[in-house]
């Protein structure tokens, strides 16, 4: 790591040929040093084969931290492969992916029917690889004393389009007669798509009168400052702000369950556990560096996803994902806009 730091200090853009030469020499010596270090600490088989090339990723901001972590680790074993990660949102990323501009798309929801249609038209075959779980969390203010849990039906009553719920009492009679103020992600977000599909039954169907923000930290701020607030966002944002917020256990039919690493991983936090994915362009797999990167991604997804605040999938799902890569098994397990239940993962 230090070697990189030293080289790059000297590697500001320079224009004179002499400086360029000395810069090359520096990079060369550092690369040798890194190689040496790699051979010393090699813990994977990849370190031995020196690959070159580029792997371009883009897509969801939710998946970005995992992809960033994988790219960072991959740099250590394959320093000559240039991995880039952009953030254009799941939908924007799919547009670039299907136009052939990227090799891998980060997606916080399964591919949609209309995106599959474009893929068929453009003759783009893709491989769907789940990489982690994210538990959508329903959150209230820390000083909210009355909410003990909520059922999926109550959430639907609250969030469905045309909902007449104005006060807490409208949800459950024993709750106070105070105005409820709602916070949630904006309509471009995969989180919004997933929540509305799972709770309201149709992707994108939501009451419109809530404070929407693409910035989840703004939602955290809003909810932590308002005792009558309720909102939803990814579990990682709750985990980073535990002292300011209160988690609402969700009753999906088998009693109230709070999201946690365990309940999300074993599927008991239902139905708001959602898998997040990467989509791999099948033709890009012809390139050795993309194939090795994809395998590296899946092999390290469990560990790295945990480090950046997500929940790993059950181990056998990763095994199946690896098999998907080696068998080049294209297509989606989620036929279009069908309900994107986490359970779809587990049935191959």
């Amino acid at each position: 790591m230090n070697n990189i730091a030293k080289t790059t200090l000297d590697a500001k853009p320079q224009f004179s040929p002499i400086k360029k030469l000395s810069r090359l020499a520096l990079i060369g010596s550092a690369a040798t040093a890194i190689l040496l270090a790699n051979n010393l600490f090699a813990n994977t088989a990849y370190a031995n084969e020196e690959l070159k090339g580029t792997v371009a990723l883009d897509g969801s901001s939710t998946v970005f931290p995992i992809s960033e972590a994988v790219a960072e680790e991959f740099l250590a074993v394959q320093p000559r492969v240039r991995v880039t990660v952009g953030v254009s949102g799941t939908g924007g990323g799919f547009k670039k992916f299907l136009a052939g501009e990227t090799d891998i798309n980060d997606a916080s929801r399964p591919i949609k029917a209309k995106e599959i249609k474009v893929a068929t038209e453009k003759n783009v075959a893709f491989i769907e690889l789940p990489v982690a779980f994210d538990g959508l969390s329903v959150i209230v203010n820390k000083n909210n004393t009355w909410v003990d849990y909520m059922s999926v039906a109550e959430l639907k009553k609250l969030w469905q389009p045309g909902s007449t719920v104005k006060t807490w009492r409208d949800i459950r009679p024993s709750w106070p007669d105070q105005e409820i103020r709602l916070y949630g992600p904006g309509t471009d977000s995969g989180t919004f798509d997933y929540f509305t599909e799972t709770i309201n039954g149709k992707s994108g169907a939501s009451r419109p009168d809530y404070t929407a923000s693409e910035d989840d930290n703004a939602l955290v701020q809003g909810i932590s400052g308002d005792v009558n607030a309720l909102g939803y966002f990814g579990f990682a944002y709750y985990a980073a702000n535990k002292d300011k917020l209160k988690l609402v256990p969700i009753n999906g039919g088998n009693g109230p369950v709070s999201p946690s690493a365990i309940t999300i991983n074993n599927g008991s936090y239902a139905p708001l556990s959602r898998p997040i994915f990467i989509y791999l362009r099948n033709s890009a797999l012809d390139r050795e560096e993309v194939r090795v990167f994809a395998q590296f991604y899946i092999n390290n997804a469990a560990k790295l996803a945990t480090e950046v605040g997500y929940i790993p999938l059950p181990g056998d799902v990763y095994q199946r994902a690896l098999k998907r890569i080696s068998d080049r098994e294209t297509g989606t397990a989620y036929s279009g806009d069908q309900t994107s239940r986490a359970t779809n993962l587990l049935t191959p």
């Binding site: 790591m1 990189i4 730091a5 030293k6 790059t8 200090l9 590697a11 500001k12 853009p13 371009a56 883009d58 901001s61 970005f64 931290p65 992809s67 960033e68 972590a69 790219a71 960072e72 740099l75 240039r82 991995v83 880039t84 990660v85 952009g86 953030v87 254009s88 670039k96 501009e101 910035d215 989840d216 930290n217 990814g234 990682a236 944002y237 985990a239 980073a240 702000n241 790295l304 480090e307 950046v308 605040g309």
Partner: protein, 293 residues
């Protein structure tokens, strides 16, 4: 009689006093408003510094982004921004100054030129994301320049051209007519006058405009994200056709992360961005002082 004139004097005296009081009230009001602006800026800087100072060290300046806040750095974004600014300056300054020179010194005041002038003023008010959309359609896809530094620099150049043109025109306008007349009287051509006299005389003003415009370019995020500036890049660009990231994109990404440490990293990056900006401004002041003499 005496008494009444005394009274009149008193009244006018009181009028005068009241007017003086009004004047001093207004001037202290203006001072207060000015101070408020400065105080807000100071507060902002203070908060950024408190948050950001913790991670700000050589390691931060010389590392690539990382999932570990302690290892994360701004290097690829900083170098990307320096590349961008250099390319933008190379593209936008010649075009902008030449346009201003043409409009002020060479063009006839006809309807077409008035239309051009009107359009330039309007373009200065167009939201930056619109330039991003143009850049995506024209440079990235149309000219097939892909998601490269040069696409970003061309897009940003479009964005700041109106500012450079307007500021340069104002600077050229302030050059006294007598200088031009003197040059013409000595037999200089229009081109010689413009190049050897008007341009050097207006240089300090043009420089101010250029620096303001580049400062705007350095802080813009939206058009860069639109044309496909990346977020995680762990290499330095070799040339204008390479993919890139820039400081505002990196700051934006860190601010949106859940963990508080990344928010502090964003603050550190803001300090670096401010430092780059201040260095640019300082350089401009030095150059201006040298040329004014």
């Amino acid at each position: 009689m005496n008494q009444s004139s005394d009274n009149a004097l008193n009244t006018s005296d009181r009028h005068l006093q009241r007017r003086h009081r009004k004047a001093s009230l207004f001037s202290s009001f203006c001072a207060l408003i000015t101070f408020m602006g400065v105080a807000l800026l100071a507060l902002l800087l203070y908060q950024v510094c408190v948050d950001g100072i913790k991670w700000l060290d050589i390691q931060f300046l010389t590392s690539f982004p990382s999932r570990f806040p302690a290892r994360a750095g701004i290097l690829s974004a900083l170098v990307g921004t320096l590349w961008l600014i250099s390319l933008i300056a190379l593209i936008a300054i010649p075009i902008g100054v030449a346009t201003a020179l043409y409009l002020e010194e060479f063009s006839k005041k006809n309807r077409l030129n008035r239309l051009i002038e009107l359009n330039i003023s309007n373009l200065a008010g167009v939201p930056s994301i619109v330039y991003g959309i143009i850049g995506l359609a024209l440079f990235v896809r149309g000219l097939n320049l892909e998601r490269s530094l040069i696409s970003g620099a061309l897009t940003m150049s479009l964005l700041i051209l109106p500012v450079i043109i307007i500021a340069s025109r104002e600077a050229i306008k302030t050059v006294p007519m007598s200088i031009r007349h003197a040059a013409f009287a000595l037999g200089a051509t229009r081109w010689q006058t413009a190049w050897a006299h008007v341009l050097p005389a207006s240089f300090p003003g043009i420089l101010t405009g250029v620096i303001l415009a580049l400062s705007r370019a350095i802080g813009e995020t939206a058009p860069l994200i639109m044309i496909g500036g990346l977020t995680y890049v762990a290499f330095l660009p070799d040339g204008p056709m390479d993919s890139f990231t820039a400081m505002p994109i990196q700051i934006y990404n860190w601010v949106a992360r859940p963990q508080h440490e990344f928010h502090q990293l964003a603050a550190s990056a803001i300090i670096v961005l401010l430092a780059v900006l201040l260095i640019m401004n300082a350089a401009a002041i030095v150059i201006r002082h040298k040329t004014e003499r």
